[in-house]
Symmetry: C2
Subunit: 167 residues, 2 copies
């Protein structure tokens, strides 16, 4: 049931991933990871991850809480933040700083230096890796400083949105 990846007119970076497959794969992948690492993939954690990956768009913590509530889970803030922290630690969720929002990781090999492309109009977000984006962190080990984590977010307008209206 693969979707075609070519022939689209919309911004490629937002579309060149097969979400149907992504969803199924991602669930399987996270299950395996947790199994292997002897971590509990509890109903709550599964649900949070599913909420994030089913739309595959950035969601605020409180949006996630609402979704949890609708699905019969507790929906007080710490619930979401704790699970999100946990999933982020293990690289299955990233935080988009510029949006105060969270998004499921779309990188099968869990790059720990993700970069995000964010359309400020439709708020779609694409996760790109160094090579695709043309960004190079290759030599980003600053002199006398040990970089542990990088945040890279590129905000702008995607083709679809810029076509739809002239700013």
């Amino acid at each position: 049931m693969k979707k075609k990846r070519e022939g689209k007119t919309t911004s490629k970076i937002f579309d060149d991933h097969d979400h149907g497959m992504c969803f199924d794969d991602a669930i399987e992948q996270i299950e395996n990871y947790f199994l292997k690492k002897n971590l509990q993939f509890t109903p709550l954690r599964r649900k949070v991850f599913e909420i994030l990956i089913r739309d595959h768009k950035p969601l605020g913590a409180y949006e996630i809480l609402e979704a949890l509530g609708r699905d019969g889970f507790s929906s007080s803030p710490p619930i979401a933040y704790r699970v999100l922290d946990f999933l982020m630690e293990h690289g299955f969720v990233h935080k988009i700083q510029g949006l105060n929002a969270f998004i499921a990781c779309s990188n099968p090999n869990h790059s720990h230096s993700p970069a995000f492309v964010i359309c400020r109009k439709c708020e779609k977000v694409a996760e790109v890796d160094e090579k695709k984006s043309g960004i190079s962190f290759a030599s980003a080990n600053i002199e006398n400083f040990e970089v542990e984590k990088t945040t890279v977010e590129m905000t702008g307008v995607c083709t679809t949105c810029s076509r739809a209206a002239t700013i």
Copy 2:
């Protein structure tokens, strides 16, 4: 009254800028810029910029508000946020997303793609430019996407802090 830039043992990126000069220069520079652009460098705006540049470290909006209050200015939140937005629009202040804090720009030519190096221990922040950092945004114009703004933050531990204690 220039300070020496060489011979220090601490992390260079945090120290290789002459802050005494930076302060005076920065004020002069912002004055000139505002004059040239016919913008008002009002007492409030000046004060906010001074607060930020005198310590040259990231300050939260509410810290800035406290400082404003101490100096006899109004200190309700919108005051700070409005001025900060204004100063950011013109490139004299940047927001450090990872800290929810604001910092005076230390780049005399107002690069609009600043990158920040943040020590998570001492919370010192250094603004670096592409060449120094080894990061390359040269080709970061993503296919079918117009990048307007980039956020780049590298978090880690500076030499001074990593020397002080083993994590």
